[in-house]
Symmetry: C2
Subunit: 210 residues, 2 copies
């Protein structure tokens, strides 16, 4: 095998392991993600994993990175195909709900599982999660501001306020659907964000009625 071939094979196996790490963490959290636990789950030897990650924290950080990329591709990507403005903002929420409804991750959402776990634990993982939330909230705020500029949301729509609300109404779907009322949580989440955006939109016909 050529050097490039070996390198490609290494990257592929690294990708596969990280995917499984993120899937596992969406259920069990990142803290249970020891190299031993991951070796059992993936069938890769512990020494094989050591070749990629010297310790648990490096693995956890790479898992966060992988989860951010997955979210960007599967949630942000589809939204960016909608026209800029209020339609893109709502498309982002719908893409998130689709991600949840399709059960892309067995635990529903990697970030929900690990934010609750690390919000009180100072360190590199918490810092990385904090940055990903800042970037995610920044993305939503930017879409709100763009919709205001385009005249598709009223001038006094507050980007930070709306970004908080959309995030809350989206993320709560995970625990509600699992512990309480199943698919109904998706319906409530969609309806809440839609009503909020329609109320702030001078031309509500840009959005579905329900």
């Amino acid at each position: 095998m050529t050097h490039d071939g070996r390198r490609l094979r290494g990257l592929r196996s690294r990708e596969t392991i990280l995917r499984q790490a993120v899937e596992l963490s969406s259920v069990e959290g990142l803290d249970g993600l020891s190299l031993g636990r991951l070796a059992t789950a993936t069938g890769v030897s512990k020494s094989g994993l050591f070749a990629h990650w010297p310790d648990k924290e490096h693995l956890q950080l790479d898992a966060v990175e992988w989860a951010v990329r997955q979210w960007t591709e599967q949630v942000v990507g589809p939204a960016m195909r909608a026209p800029a403005g209020v339609r893109r903002l709502f498309a982002l929420h719908e893409a998130r709900l689709t991600f949840y409804r399709d059960g892309v991750l067995p635990g529903g959402c990697f970030f929900f599982a690990v934010q609750a776990e690390f919000d009180d634990r100072p360190g590199a993982v918490r810092d990385r999660l904090s940055r990903s939330m800042r970037e995610w909230q920044g993305l939503i705020r930017g879409m709100v501001a763009e919709a205001v500029t385009l005249g598709e949301l009223v001038d006094d729509a507050d980007p930070a306020q709306l970004a908080f609300e959309i995030e809350a109404l989206g993320e709560m779907v995970i625990v509600h659907s699992r512990l309480y009322d199943g698919a109904q949580a998706l319906v409530h989440s969609r309806r809440a964000v839609l009503a909020r955006l329609r109320a702030l939109c001078p031309d509500p016909e840009l959005l579905p009625e329900d």
Copy 2:
């Protein structure tokens, strides 16, 4: 010491241990709550803990029970002193935010920490958490229905929809304030619920303006 005296002392020490268990779990989750971990945290010997709880699951279940009682006393209690209707509904949200802002629990919210942990784990703890969420949502739905009956919310206010929204906008404060924007999350949460209720209230003067 009399038999009653011993019994009372046992109850008090049980209370103290459960309080520490709930405080600890609000930070670390319930899964880390082994009898050994709790013995270290409380200074009570493991055999002393065994006298109260035969195993970890019994301890976890009693911790949930204690947390429900704390929430009932410190969040529901103050709300019940407000007049029935939309004012009580908003008082409930404000009491929750006060609970968070005062840092009653070091991790902010016991339920947030443990719901994320147990939503994917079938068993007695998950069932107990599911029941507590059902009861909590039932309480909010009941307050919404009461406000509708009193003419303080419009007839088509949907209790289950509003209960979902209020819960989402409340619970998200924990992770937002810890990972992202601190006290600003409390402001956003209060503002969102207030605006939502005022919009559905035929007599918005029942509620503060902001």
